[in-house]
């Protein structure tokens, strides 16, 4: 089916998310809580776009105990949706950068900026949208976290579930159970690597990694010395994927060295004249 994004006609499969379609067609929609490998969270609301189609009649008003839509009477009224989780099921027209959207993004960024003044990701977007820091609002000076939830989603995806969001409303935070070192944490750093604003601190020093108040022993590549991961992480992966092929005669190899070794082994095998006992 066809989707018109900012005037450009794009092809799309039914059920595809708007953000994917836009990306494929090199249309830039800003995102903060989006990660290709994880399901859309729709928490940061930066990727809002305006959609216009026949689906958004009054019946599009969601239902339930709460009013999900305050008065949509005009069939041709544009609706604000988040591109990361909006599935395209009909031919629609989309705007990604209208005046209204820019103003709304500016409001969202103003809020995020007040929350996490130290976040570089927010800082860059804020500059782009001309957001100024509101100095009357209280904020924690050293705060970087924007509570997008990517770290929790990544940890769940790993199957460890060592961190979760705690509390609700304005007191929400991300933490390990009771803020103590989590038993199930394997020190894999998935959370820190998906974090858009570098808010999860960790240190790799003297063969030890510290993250979420827990210390791990680091394992390095036997050939080049590059850090592969923590001992717990490799054990966990081994448990899930069966005995690891990486452990070869007591050798632990990183991805790169493993490829080198495989290549040389294959070369060695394909030499003519060699026989195997």
């Amino acid at each position: 089916m066809k989707v018109i994004i900012d005037g450009l006609t794009c092809e799309a499969e039914s059920g595809e998310y708007l953000l994917q379609i836009a990306k494929r067609n090199h249309i830039n929609i800003p995102t903060l809580c989006h990660e290709e490998a994880l399901a859309g969270l729709a928490t940061c609301r930066i990727c809002i776009v305006e959609v216009m189609d026949a689906r958004q009649k009054a019946e599009e008003r969601a239902f339930g105990q709460l009013n999900d839509d305050c008065g949509e009477k005009d069939d041709r009224k544009r609706k604000i949706v988040t591109a990361c989780v909006y599935p395209v099921v009909a031919e629609i027209e989309v705007l990604t950068n209208s005046e209204k959207l820019r103003d709304m993004r500016k409001a969202v960024l103003t809020l995020l900026m007040a929350r996490a003044p130290q976040s570089d990701a927010i800082g860059m977007l804020a500059k782009e949208y001309g957001v100024e820091q509101n100095h009357r609002w209280s904020s924690r000076e050293d705060e970087k976290c924007i509570l997008c939830g990517l770290c929790v989603a990544a940890c769940d995806k790993m199957g460890t579930g060592a961190i979760a969001t705690v509390n609700r409303g304005t007191t929400r935070t991300v933490s390990t159970p009771f803020e103590e070192p989590a038993e199930s944490c394997i020190g894999c750093c998935s959370c820190a690597s998906v974090c858009p604003s570098g808010a999860i601190p960790f240190t790799d020093l003297h063969g030890k990694r510290t993250i979420w108040n827990k210390e791990f022993e680091l394992v390095s590549c036997s050939w080049c010395g590059e850090v592969i991961g923590t001992k717990e992480q490799l054990e966990y992966v081994g448990k899930r994927n069966g005995p690891s092929a990486d452990v070869h005669g007591g050798e632990m190899l990183c991805e790169h060295c493993r490829a080198v070794r495989e290549a040389s082994r294959l070369k060695w095998v394909s030499q003519p004249g060699r026989t195997f006992a």
């Binding site: 339930g64 999900d68 305050c70 409001a107 509570l147 939830g149 304005t170 007191t171």
Partner: protein, 602 residues
């Protein structure tokens, strides 16, 4: 009127809703039962005493009714039981002091019909509450219970859908989505299993209509859900009830057990071979779990957080299966629609809002309680005729409709008709039907602040506009109530609010700015008083309030002095009194008790 020659009372109904229970109505019930048993048989017909659900006029509970004569007693105390038994039950005499007195009138009225609180009401969803013993399925069946389910079993799903569509019923949970259309969408999807859910997670402050139906007429919900399940082809359903509603959970558990015993639930309903199971899930006390997708997440055992609803629950709801979720009051209406026909239902109400709506009328209104009225009644009728006007004869200021995320409607809109669309047009919403009446001693800035505070605690915190927006709105409003506001603050609130309305993830966030936006729209002057004059006209915001006693009006009666908790008022009897500003805590007791309007807000 003594010695009224009434017929023998066949039934005595004692209201045992939550409010009346709190006033010992259970003792009245057991006391009457005991006396009648002990008395042997001096009576021709031994009256049956029944403990019923809420009968609505909670302000005047506990209520005792004598049927078929319909004599009503209000505010009965356990100490009155002897007198009621001696005079009324044995000798058919009325007890004057227990009967209702209409405001403005001298004489007492006997019956419920004569009481203006009930005059304009029309009961569909509440047809049985206060009339039957909720713990007795027999009572429900005597009033035609389960006949609609039997009828529905003989109908095709298509016929049921047509009936519900024809009724024009719209969701009573708040959004007002056409129920029939929702059912048809769900019926049209060919994936099984399907589920039905009843949303009983009523969390709005001051709203208790769902609770009363759950406590007073549980079987109507079971029957409604059974009919809905027949229409869409579901074999199991869930009742999601707040854990705080202890009595509602107990009543519902009992009702499900009785319905199973009778064969109205289970494997072979009425011998038709149709299977339907119901189970109760208790909500853990999060307001956001009243939002349908959060509620489903909660039933699944996940954190109760909403998801984006671009794919609707009727397609992928509970466990990714087609799910039909309706609110308690919506389900309670269904059996009546099947019994009496959709066209009967759609003959009540306005063009786009059919039927009746239950409102919980609370706040500064004389008759606090539960009312069910046809859609399209005006706010004035609701507040001044049914509600009896404002307590203490004060001036009406605003009415807040639709729960914490509804708006405040000012005096100039009192003649507005109450239905989904006009409330929305007035920047408020129907919501689940809470109505909080405010008088001149209510500060609108403080009211907005209260609701934003409530919502900021109850927001799930998942999305930025709601979590961060409410946090900052609260900061700004706190500033205004403390006299640190500026006029730019109002523009900032409007800017943030209009973004939240569209960019938030769920209904809670989208409607959260309503209290702020509507009070700025209708009561801007009051905001400006706080900002420019550093004064709270209602005398509520402590930092911006001083109380003074006007010498020329004060009679020196000393009532304010007696009621001052900190001894800030001094004065000799019959001479004008004085308030010591240093000691005064701005509690407002003096202004509230003064009968001569001698206390002025400075």
């Amino acid at each position: 009127m003594n010695g009224h020659d009434g017929t023998n009372f066949e039934k005595i109904l004692v209201c045992c809703g939550t409010c009346c229970l709190a006033n010992n109505s259970m003792d009245i019930d057991s006391g009457l039962k005991e006396r009648i048993q002990q008395a042997g048989l001096p009576l021709e017909v031994e009256p049956m005493v029944k403990a019923t659900g809420c009968s609505g006029l909670c302000e005047n509970g506990p209520i005792v009714r004598f049927l078929p004569d319909d004599l009503c007693y209000y505010k009965v105390k356990p100490g009155d039981v002897d007198e009621v038994f001696e005079k009324t039950v044995l000798n058919k005499q009325e007890i004057d002091r227990l009967m209702h007195r209409e405001p403005e009138q001298r004489n007492r009225v006997r019956t419920r019909e004569e009481n203006s609180f009930y005059k304009k009401q029309f009961r569909i969803a509440l047809r049985n509450t206060g009339e039957i013993d909720p713990f007795s399925i027999q009572d429900y069946m005597e009033r035609g219970g389960y006949s609609a389910a039997k009828k529905a079993l003989k109908m095709t799903p298509e016929e049921i859908l047509t009936e519900i569509e024809g009724s024009g019923l719209r969701g009573r949970g708040g959004a007002g989505f056409p129920t029939g259309r929702k059912w048809r969408q769900c019926a049209g999807i060919g994936r099984y299993p399907k589920y039905t859910i009843c949303n009983g997670d009523e969390g709005d402050p001051g709203a208790f209509m769902d609770r009363c139906i759950l406590e007073g007429d549980p079987h109507s919900i079971i029957e409604g859900m059974l009919i809905g399940s027949l229409a869409i082809g579901a074999n199991s359903g869930y009742l999601y009830i707040r854990n705080e509603y202890g009595l509602a959970v107990r009543t519902m558990e009992e009702a499900i057990c009785q319905a199973r015993e009778k064969g109205f639930l289970g494997k072979n309903i009425f011998g038709s071979g149709y299977e339907f199971h119901l189970q109760i899930v208790k909500g853990g006390g999060a307001f956001v779990c009243g939002e349908s997708t959060a509620l489903m997440a909660s039933i699944e055992g996940n954190t109760g957080e909403p998801r984006a609803k671009y794919i609707r629950s009727v397609e992928r709801g509970l466990w990714g299966q087609p799910t039909l979720l309706n609110n308690v009051e919506t389900w309670a209406n269904i059996p009546e629609i099947i019994n009496r026909g959709g066209s009967w239902f759609s003959s009540i109400g306005t063009e786009k809002s059919k039927g009746t709506k239950v409102f919980s009328l609370v706040g500064k209104v004389k008759n606090n309680g539960l009312v069910e009225v046809p859609m399209g009644i005006t706010l004035r009728e609701l507040i001044f005729e049914i509600g009896g006007g404002i307590i203490g004869g004060r001036r009406f200021k605003a009415v807040q409709t639709g729960g914490p995320s509804g708006g405040c409607i000012p005096q100039e809109l009192l003649d507005m008709k109450v239905d989904f669309d006009s409330l929305e047009a007035a920047d408020s919403m129907m919501g689940s039907g809470g109505m909080i009446v405010m008088d001149e001693r209510t500060c609108m800035v403080d009211t907005a602040r209260y609701y934003i505070n409530f919502l900021s605690e109850e927001s799930c915190g998942k999305c930025v506009p709601c979590r961060e927006g409410l946090r900052r709105m609260l900061e700004v409003l706190d500033g205004i109530t403390e006299g640190k506001g500026s006029e730019e603050d109002l523009e900032l609130l409007i800017w943030l609010g209009s973004m939240m309305k569209e960019a938030a993830l769920c209904g809670l966030g989208k409607s959260a700015p309503n209290p702020v936006l509507s009070t700025i729209k209708y009561f801007r002057q009051e905001y400006l008083s706080h900002i420019r004059d550093q004064r709270c006209p209602a005398g509520i915001c402590k930092k911006l309030t001083t109380f003074r006693i006007l010498e020329e009006k004060c009679t020196g009666c000393g009532l304010c002095k007696k009621n001052c908790g900190v001894g800030a008022i001094s004065g000799k009897p019959r001479l004008s009194h004085v308030i010591d500003e240093e000691l005064c805590t701005r509690c407002g007791n003096c202004i509230d008790v003064c009968r001569f309007q001698a206390v002025e807000i400075g």
